[in-house]
Amino acid sequence: MSTSSQLLSRRSFGRLAAGVAGAAGMGALGACTTRGGRPSADTPLRIMAINHVWSQAIRRRTKEFEERIGRRVSMTLLTADQLASSYNVKLNASGTDVDVMMVRALQEQLLFAHNGWLADLSDRVTQDEDFAWPDFQKAPREASLTAGKVLSVPVVTERPALYYRKDLVEGVGGPPRTLEALMSAAQELTEKKKGFYGFVGRGQRSGAVSQWSSFLYSHGGDFVVGGRSGIGSPEALAAYAYYGRLLSRTGPPGATNMSLEQAMPIFAQGKAAFYIDADAIYSSFLDPKVSTVRETVGFAPFPAGPAGARPHNIPSWSLGISEFSLLRDDAWEFVKWAAGPEVTADLQKDGIPGARGSVWSDPESLASFPPDLAEAMRLNAERGLGYDRPRVLQVGRARDIVGRPLVAGILGNDVRPVARDADAEFADFLVRDNRHKES
């Protein structure tokens, strides 16, 4: 073999290798290019959602929707943390592979609006009469608005319910109507040596804040009062001390590591007398596969504190459309269908609380809920405030600050010095957060 032919083959190989590398590089860069382009008929409508009873029910019905729009639907269900991280990664890259986004209006919407990640749905919701936008409850509808624009449509609402053991409360005067009564009943029923606890609830620094909010409001406090930090107020201190005392004296060990996933099974397995958490999870206690208390669980409205019963009543999950979606019309069709009066009523009949006023006034749609739960939901909705966490841009950071005194209380420490420190930190945070809002 001559040198030249060897050289030729090497050169050809070299060109080929360079070509392949170049093509791979361009391909990789091309994949990053997200704007523009026309989706083909085969492109699925991509929906990213929380793994929740609502999204599971919707996924079971997607065939019906696919036939309606003549396009395949691809639905990804993730945990709340995974979903938030996915949005962060995909939308930071202006990715077109998300069309419909399930978002927490109170947690992410302000930030996503600041980033320009959510499409403005104002015209679509108001111009379509069949969609009946005014039919949505006032608090969830207001939470969908940011800077006067509708950025999401609420699909699931939530209030705190008091879950209790009917077989145990007989001896302590029935289900407690006040926080004071809850404390004494929980203390009376606690038998830590036998592994039985009077009360179980969320204790994680950030995760507990949303449930604690109802305790805060019912003590007369709020996260922000007159534009300033409210977590150092006497009312907030009383709420911190109360919640800390309740969990440290009557709660299970390891309460500071508990969010919904850890607290709920303790009540479901019959190891606690009282539990306060979202009413949307009630079916977990009626499911024989996971619950040993299905015969004995009772439901009651949030107990009254010194300032009365002031629970939260929030849109826990909403649907938005990505600003980078190339299938916005189909995405809107999905939102219209999934949040429409018909599907909302059907889902509520299956026990999934919706955000439309009409379904709450329809006795048929409430028939699936246990009667005492339906009554508790109605009362809590009537008394409730439309938010359960600070209404700021960086909700995660705010929750971390607000939750610190909570943890101190659960650990049995004096909440006052921690609350003073958290109050100062929260005040600084609010200044920075406002600066971010204006940027």
Binding site: R10, G14, R15, A21, L111, G203, P252, P253, G254, H436
Partner: protein, 320 residues
């Protein structure tokens, strides 16, 4: 045989009026080889550029800005402000740096001591050695997230089997990962459970390559087992030990998955397991403070490089 040196860049001169220039002479093998080398390297270089150099440079660039919310949103260069903020943060940054160091030092020392002890025990062949080696490898093959969830279930303060076992032998119940004070030590023990086998296997490989004569000579001179280990085996094992130590220390410094799987975002309710890695993740994904997060990551990288240099110097001095 005479050879003519030809400059790689020299071209045959064309003299006007003397006809066409002679045909280009084929390149020498060395020339072709040099070009081919770069051609073959190109894909790897492209990969390194895209996957390593670009992210590093981008992180450095981001660390000098006030990037918040979305990385592609407008951002302003703020100089070293993020570094000043991070280094002045006594609430989160310094406690996280301290936890990173405590976790790494504690876990790596335990893993080294246990790994060396196990390797010494397994040095001489014994019946069932294959089984022991197979069992040792199991924790290494399991993903950290699965391990985290597994231990979370075992150590659950209310329903976990660990407390049932403790109660069975009359010991008080423990909160383990549910406790603010016990979480970090518990996670260090989980890390020891997972990574001691790797240290064992590395050190065992080192031990099997050692010559037997020096130890034999020490035995003849009357040295006991501990003296032989301390003055003969350990110095000879030095280079392997140093390498294993550096590898494990760097890996332990970067631990994230098991902390996240067991304690979630934020490193626990009182930030009890928030290391620099967990803190940087929180700044990025929970707070969307990309500029500050990038600065923390740059400082963290410098910290890791510092630890590696220190360990290599100490390792080098010992083995010299």
């Amino acid at each position: 045989m005479s050879t003519t040196e030809v400059s790689p860049t020299a071209r045959p001169a064309t003299v006007p009026g003397e006809g066409p220039a002679p045909a280009r002479r084929p390149r020498t093998f060395e020339q072709a080889n040099r070009r081919l080398k770069w051609t073959m390297l190109a894909p790897a270089l492209l990969f390194v550029g895209l996957m390593i150099v670009f992210p590093l440079v981008y992180t450095l660039d981001l660390s000098l800005t006030d990037a918040f919310g979305a990385v592609n949103a407008g951002r302003t260069y703020v100089g070293l402000q993020n570094f000043t903020d991070a280094l002045g943060d006594t609430r989160r940054f310094w406690p996280a740096a301290q936890r990173t160091l405590v976790f790494t030092v504690g876990a790596v020392i335990l893993e080294t001591v246990l790994g060396l002890a196990l390797a010494m025990l397994m040095r001489k062949p014994f019946r069932g050695m294959r089984w022991v080696r197979t069992v040792l490898i199991i924790p290494l093959l399991t993903t950290p997230v699965a391990i985290g969830i597994l231990w979370l279930l075992i150590l659950d303060p209310t329903n976990g089997i660990a407390n049932h076992l403790l109660a069975g032998v009359g010991l008080p119940r423990q909160e383990f990962l549910g406790s603010v004070s016990q979480s970090l030590p518990t996670l260090m023990l989980i890390d020891v459970w997972q990574w001691t086998p790797m240290m064992t296997l590395l050190l065992l490989a080192g031990l099997t390559t050692l010559p037997e004569e020096p130890e034999e000579a020490a035995r003849v001179d009357g040295a006991n087992g501990w003296q032989r280990f301390r003055h003969v085996v350990l110095p000879m094992l030095g280079p392997t030990l140093a390498t294993a130590l550096v590898l494990r220390a760097v890996d332990a410094l970067k631990t994230f998955d098991i902390l996240y799987a067991t304690k979630g975002a934020g490193g626990g309710s009182d930030f009890e397991v928030e290391t620099l890695n967990v803190y940087a993740y929180g700044l990025t994904f929970d707070y969307q403070e990309y500029g500050l997060a990038a600065a923390v990551l740059v400082l963290f990288t410098l910290f890791i490089v510092g630890v590696v240099v220190l360990l290599r110097r100490r390792g080098g001095r010992k083995t010299a």
